[in-house]
Structures are given as structure tokens and as C-alpha cells.
Amino acid sequence: MSGVPRPVLLLCALPAAFFVAFFLAPMAVVLIASLTTPAGQPTFAHYVRILADTYHWDVLWVTFRIGALTTLVCVLIGYPLAWYLVRIVKWRPWRRFCVILLVVPLFTSNIVRSFGWMVLLGRNGLVNDGLIGLGLIERPMRFLGTELGILIGLVYILLPFIVLAVGNALAKVDPALEHASADLGATPAGTFRTIIFPLSLPGLMAGAVMVFMLAVSAYVTPALLSGGRITVFSMLIFQQYSSVFDFNYGGALSITMLVLTLALVAIAGRLSEPRRA
């Protein structure tokens, strides 16, 4: 008999069952489908087809480029924003208001928000009107159907994740450490570089990984803002499942995407790891 009491085992069984039913089982179905023919014979043909087709490699390249740029822009905007919320805002009601502003869009559907951007970014949308009004451009810029348009939409949707992750990490840095650093002769910039930034790095990495994964797997926002001119990998997968009904090939595409994303995240994690083991 194990030493774990029966009620504890029962309590653990529920989340375990949930995990198996909703995470492990669907994943296994997709994986198995990707390794079999429609008749159920084992095969690597789907993967061979993906590797041989340069079109897939082009789409993957676009997808990961948009994902990387989205992550970069989110980090560049999100870190200062988190800093502002945690370090600069002293008046609590204002901070709370800012956090609500940041989080509330997460309660609305992606589709609604992406349609909103379609209106804003259109030929006669608010963004073009504003830019022309300010005299920055002479003729309306093209946003819809460009990578820039998709980038704007994704950054808007994913920014809260990085702000919350970084804000959480910054709030946890003990103010006494900054005092100690200043006491030992570090300027505020030196303290940020050597103490605060390294201590917030795990939060930043967690937020960046989340943003990257969500950006490369995003479907709705790129689909609506691409205007059919740009294809990202999730659209290919969607086509296979919804139009072509080739679940085996769609499964292989999904697994390829998953493996590549995880590999990139693992490499990023290895690069950002502290020197010490």
C-alpha cells in the first residue's frame, strides 16, 4: 500500500482525468492521424510531403516572422508599460483603472476586436484619417492585407499578457535590493541593469513565450486582417480540416507546427538561462 491517504488520491484523480480527457486524448488523436493513411495504415507520407513542399516553408517563415515581430513589439511596449504601472503610478485607483483597461479587452471575443481593427485600419479608417490629418502621409496607407496590419492586430490582442507577466515580476522585486544596490554605489541605471532587469527576466521570458505561442497559432486575427493576401500556418491547417477534410494531412501540419514552436521556445529558453546550472 502506498502512504498516500485515499481522499488525497481521489482529489488528485479528478484533475488527472480532466488532463487526460482534454489535453492528452485530443493530442494523441491528432498525432495518430498524422501518422496513418485514411485507411488506417501507418505512414510517414504526410510529413515527407510537408518537408518537400517549399510553399509550406514559405508560409512557416511568414508565420514565425510575424510571431517574432509581435513578440518583439509586445516586449518593447509592454515592459515600459508594466514599469509605469508598477513603479511610477503611486495613486492606487489610477493603477487599478489602468489594469482594468488592459484586461477588459480580454473578455471580448477576438473576432469582434479584429473586426474593430478592420474598421480602424481601412482605407478611410480612423488611423489613415488621423495620419493624413497630422500631415504624416499624403494618401491612405495600406494596412489590411499587409503583415503590418496583422502585426498591429496581434500586438493589440497579446500586449496584456506581457504587461501582466512583467508587472508581476517587477512587483516582486524587493525594494530593499534597490536600496542595497544604491548604497553600494550603483546609479539608478546601473541598478536597473544589474539588479531589477535580471530579476524581472523570468517574468519577461514567460510573457514573451506566451505571446509568441499565441501569435504563431493565431487564426482569427490574421485571417480577418490579411484580406486573403497573406497566409499563415494556422490557415493551412484550418483549410485541411474544414475544406479539404484531410484530417491526416491536417494532423501532420499541426504536429509540425507544434514541434517547431516548442523547439524555438526551448532554444529561446536555453539562450536566456542564467549562466549557472
Binding site: A180, S181, D183, T187
Partner: protein
């Protein structure tokens, strides 16, 4: 020799609430000063003003003659040992200690050499590669000390550095701190609320209460000649006796049982201070002492001594006796409290 630290008329308010009022203090080079007082007395606020984390509204702070009142902390030639050590969790012990020299622009190798030297001084040679989280509380405390002395400041501030250690370890670290201070010749300004710690470590004690300095002096001098009622009560145990003035040059205590000359005493209301160990409790009067008839109200054993409650008239006194002097004594017994008038000091303030 000019003082290493000179504070003049320092005042600090927090939202209309006075935290420090007209603080004057001079610390000589190599001196060990304890800032002693109850929590909320302003001792930590004073330390933070000196370190530069707070800016006072009035007054000046001079370090080695230079006015640093408005300088940011990183421009002040002093270092601090923080209450919870504030070690950088993402750096090894060696990196923590080398942080100060590195920020001063010392080359990496030289900074590492100085860090190793400082770690050896505090008895942590060979611990450089560990992370702070892998050390015990006492070891972390030593790392904090090594980090603060590695730049050889002329003044070291210590903010209740031993409060997180258990009693046995605290005693050990106290004497080590004292030795290190002696060897380096650095002036220590040591914040504590523990009067025993202040007494046993400091050359001089700065006693603070409600944002003001009550008394500055050697521990034994404050104990023997407290300047105020607060000083008498906070440093050591004391019987505080109500005093009636009788004309200009004499006072009476214990409902007239004692009369003292008071020509030199301060003006205003007075309190008489009598230390518990200055009361001899016996069954017969003792010669050359004033023997007051008393009744034993309670006996509390504290190990090395016993604390005896005595009722004298309508006043309760506490006497401290060696266990051997207690033989046959019990509550309710009629005894004599034998005192000497010279042991009673008169301080300003109400009992």
C-alpha cells in the same frame, strides 16, 4: 580629529507627523555607536536619512566634513548592512560582495580578490560560489557584512542586523562584529531596540524616543545617571518613585519616608529612580542604610536572580536578589528594604 559624521538640527516629517526633531549627533572615527530606542522612535528614519534614502526637511549631515544632506545614496561614502540583509538573490556570494568594488569601477579580477578577502575576514572563505538562498541566516548576515565593508567605508550603518538571528547565535555574532569593527577601525552606527545589545557592544549609546535624542553617553553612565525618566526606564530596570517638592531645596519620596536635598535637581516635576539591585532585603535592619519596613508581595525566579515585589506604604518596589539571599523568604513576610540615598537619582518628568 574631526568627527566622521556630524549631524546638525536634523528634522524629518511624514505627512505632518514629526519623525525626527532637531537631531544633533557627532560620531568620531572608529567609534561604535548604538542608536537605541523603542520601535517607532525614529532611529531607523535617522539611519535612512544618513544613508540617503530619505531627505530631511531641515538640518545638515556631514560625512568627513563634506555636506551630503542632498546627495543621492550612491554618492555617499558609507555602506549599510540591511535588516533582512537584502542580498541579491540572482548573484553568487562572491558576486554579491564584489558588487560594490565593481560599481566603483574596480577591474573584475581586483574586485574578485577584494571580495575573497572580505569573505575571509567574516569567516566565509570558500563560500563564494554559493547562492545566498543556500546559506543559513547567520551566514547570510556575514555576507551582508562582507559586502558592506569590502569598499572600506569610513562609516558603516547597521539596521538591526542581528534581529533575525536566534539568541545564542546573536551573542556569538555580537562579539565577532565587535572584533571586526576593532580590526578595521571603521565607525559603526548600529540601530537596535535591544538594550543589552547596545550595552555590550557600543562605545556610546544614543538613546532615542519619539523622534528626539533623550541622552547620549556610555552605557554604564546612562544606567548610573539617566538624564530623563525615559532613559531610566528604558535602559535597565528601575523603580520610578513619585516625588513631592518641599520648598526649593528638598523633596520627599515614598509618602515622606525619604527626604532628599534637591538644590541641584532640575526644575518642574521630578521622578526618583532606584535600581532593583540597590535594594537590600533583610529581616533585620542593615547598618548605614535607610531601613524601610516592607512586606513581600511576590517572588519571581529568573534563574540567575530573583525579582522580589515589596510593598512599602502604598508603593510597590521591585528588588533584585541573589537566590542565596532568598533563604526562608516567602510572600506576606514582613522584611526591611534597606536603601542608600545616594542610589536615588532625580530626573525630570512624572512617575
Amino acid at each position: 580629529m574631526s568627527p566622521i559624521l556630524a549631524i546638525d538640527g536634523l528634522s524629518k516629517h511624514f505627512g505632518g507627523q514629526a519623525a525626527l526633531t532637531a537631531i544633533d549627533l557627532a560620531v568620531e572615527q572608529g567609534e561604535f555607536i548604538a542608536l537605541l530606542g523603542p520601535s517607532g522612535c525614529g532611529k531607523t528614519t535617522l539611519l535612512r536619512c544618513i544613508a540617503g534614502f530619505l531627505t530631511p526637511e531641515a538640518g545638515t549631515i556631514r560625512l568627513a566634513g563634506e555636506d551630503v544632506t542632498r546627495l543621492p545614496p550612491y554618492r555617499r561614502p558609507l555602506n549599510t548592512v540591511f535588516q533582512n540583509y537584502a542580498l541579491f538573490p540572482h548573484m553568487s556570494v562572491a558576486e554579491n560582495v564584489a558588487y560594490g568594488p565593481r560599481r566603483q569601477g574596480v577591474a573584475r579580477d581586483e574586485a574578485a580578490r577584494r571580495a575573497a578577502e572580505a569573505l575571509e575576514l567574516v569567516g566565509l572563505a570558500g563560500f563564494g560560489e554559493r547562492l545566498p538562498a543556500q546559506l543559513s541566516g547567520g551566514q547570510q548576515q556575514r555576507v551582508a557584512l562582507a559586502r558592506a565593508i569590502v569598499n572600506r567605508p569610513q562609516l558603516l550603518l547597521l539596521d538591526e542586523p542581528l534581529s533575525a538571528l536566534d539568541l545564542k547565535l546573536r551573542k556569538k555574532v555580537q562579539s565577532e562584529l565587535k572584533q571586526i569593527q576593532h580590526r578595521l577601525g571603521i565607525a559603526f552606527l548600529f540601530v537596535t531596540h535591544d538594550q543589552d545589545e547596545a550595552m555590550s557592544m557600543a562605545d556610546r549609546i544614543v538613546l532615542m524616543n519619539r523622534g528626539r535624542i533623550e541622552q547620549i553617553g556610555r552605557g554604564q553612565d546612562i544606567y548610573a545617571r539617566p538624564a530623563t525618566r525615559f532613559a531610566a526606564d528604558f535602559v535597565g530596570d528601575a523603580n520610578l518613585l513619585a516625588v513631592d517638592r518641599r520648598g526649593d531645596d528638598s523633596v520627599s519620596l515614598l509618602g515622606g519616608a525619604i527626604t532628599l536635598p534637591a538644590a541641584d535637581a532640575p526644575q518642574g516635576t521630578l521622578t526618583g529612580v532606584l535600581r532593583p539591585e540597590d535594594i537590600l532585603v533583610t529581616t533585620e535592619p542593615v547598618a548605614e542604610r535607610l531601613a524601610l519596613p516592607a512586606v513581600v508581595s511576590e517572588i519571581v525566579h529568573v534563574g540567575s536572580h530573583a525579582s522580589v515585589g515589596l510593598t512599602v506604604g502604598d508603593t510597590t518596589l521591585t528588588a533584585r536578589l541573589a537566590p542565596s539571599a532568598l533563604a526562608g523568604m516567602s510572600a506576606g513576610q514582613a522584611v526591611f528594604a534597606n536603601i542608600r540615598l545616594v542610589d536615588i537619582s532625580l530626573v525630570p518628568g512624572d512617575a
